[in-house]
């Protein structure tokens, strides 16, 4: 018989053990409940004392869409970073589809519920919904990767050893790719 693990009441400090987002890009405050491999429920408080409000916008402070998207994402991360072996791993977006329905202002609290549809080979698919005072505010569908794990499942290329494209490497990466292509 398999026992369902339920994580409850994760505070700011514990959340940061599971995921690597840090101030000023940490957009979740509390996880009320997380069932690894299934779902997570949490919230983010919005306060005027956040860096984006004075700039977005000066005469009408409201939460930028990307911050809402990131808050949804960071709760979603808790659905699969809580699985054995994933704690504290870095993640990367593969695909996001988001939708915004309501203006969120300083003083609001965004309650988020995230569901994991599937998790295989370092690739997570799922969705999250955000509400303010029970009113629908935003939602998103995600495909998110844990690159460290996903790399292990990449097929080896003819060059022997598998070339991983990394555009951040700039010229060096390009040279590596060219060599690989020439060798194959």
């Amino acid at each position: 018989m398999e026992e369902t693990v339920v994580l409850k009441d994760l505070d700011a400090y514990k959340i940061q053990e599971y995921q690597q987002n840090r101030y000023p890009l940490l957009f979740v405050d509390h996880i009320a409940e997380a069932i690894p491999g299934k779902m997570a429920r949490g919230h983010k408080n919005f306060s005027y004392n956040e860096w984006f409000f004075p700039a977005h916008f000066q005469d009408e402070p409201n939460v930028p869409g990307f911050v809402q998207m990131e808050a949804l994402t960071q709760v979603f991360l808790m659905t699969f970073l809580t699985l054995p072996g994933n704690k504290g791993r870095k993640t990367a977006f593969v695909k996001v589809e988001s939708e915004f329905k309501r203006k969120i202002i300083p003083g609001d609290r965004l309650d988020i519920e995230a569901d994991l549809e599937s998790y295989r080979r370092g690739l997570a698919k799922g969705s999250a919904v955000g509400k303010v005072n029970g009113e629908f505010a935003c939602q998103a569908k995600f495909v998110i990767a844990i690159p460290d794990i996903m790399r292990k499942y990449r097929p080896a290329s003819g060059a022997g050893g598998g070339v991983i494209l990394n555009f951040h490497n700039g010229l060096a990466g390009q040279r590596k790719l060219n060599n690989a292509l020439r060798a194959s």
Binding site: Y23, L25, N49, W51, D59, P106
Partner: protein, 158 residues
């Protein structure tokens, strides 16, 4: 003088509160009766400048900032009095008692009242709560120097 209660959002309250980001420590004034009282709250979130450093392994709101939040709320009660909108408010003396930590993700409810106001001196009381539990209590003496100075005795030697 009318003493009607009204509410102010984070933009409107900046008309009566000169502090700005990153030192504006109130988000919403739910009820203010000019010259009498002001209630409201501040939301606490990880995305604030003081949490990563106070403290890295145990984020909680610095006591000085809790006091500041209460003082800012009391200032709204003072500056909403007609004719005082543009005045400067100074703190003269505060006594605070802290009872509970205030953490990210919580809502810090602020309740302040003006106990007495004479000659530009305002004696205020404030209580900060989290989930109905008292987090801190403060007695504050605030002044509006513009008014206060007009009551000071003149110096004899000019």
């Amino acid at each position: 003088m009318e003493n009607k209660a009204f509410s102010l959002d984070s933009l409107e309250l900046q008309k009566y509160q000169p502090n700005r980001y990153p030192f504006l420590l109130i988000d919403y004034v739910t009820e203010v009766i000019p010259g009498v009282s002001a209630k409201g709250y501040k939301n606490l979130t990880n995305n604030e400048w003081f949490f990563p450093v106070h403290f890295p392994d145990d984020p909680n709101m610095p006591g000085a900032l809790q006091l500041e939040a209460l003082a800012q709320m009391a200032t709204v009660a003072i500056l909403t009095v007609p004719g005082l909108e543009d005045k400067v408010v100074h703190g003269l003396k505060h006594t605070v008692r802290f009872r509970r930590e205030v953490r990210p993700g919580e809502r810090f409810d602020l309740e302040t009242e003006i106990v007495s106001s004479k000659r530009g001196l305002f004696q205020c009381k404030g209580i900060g709560r989290v989930n109905g539990e008292i987090a801190c209590e403060a007695e504050m003496l605030l002044s509006v120097p513009d008014i206060f100075k007009s009551f000071l005795p003149k110096r004899s030697n000019g």
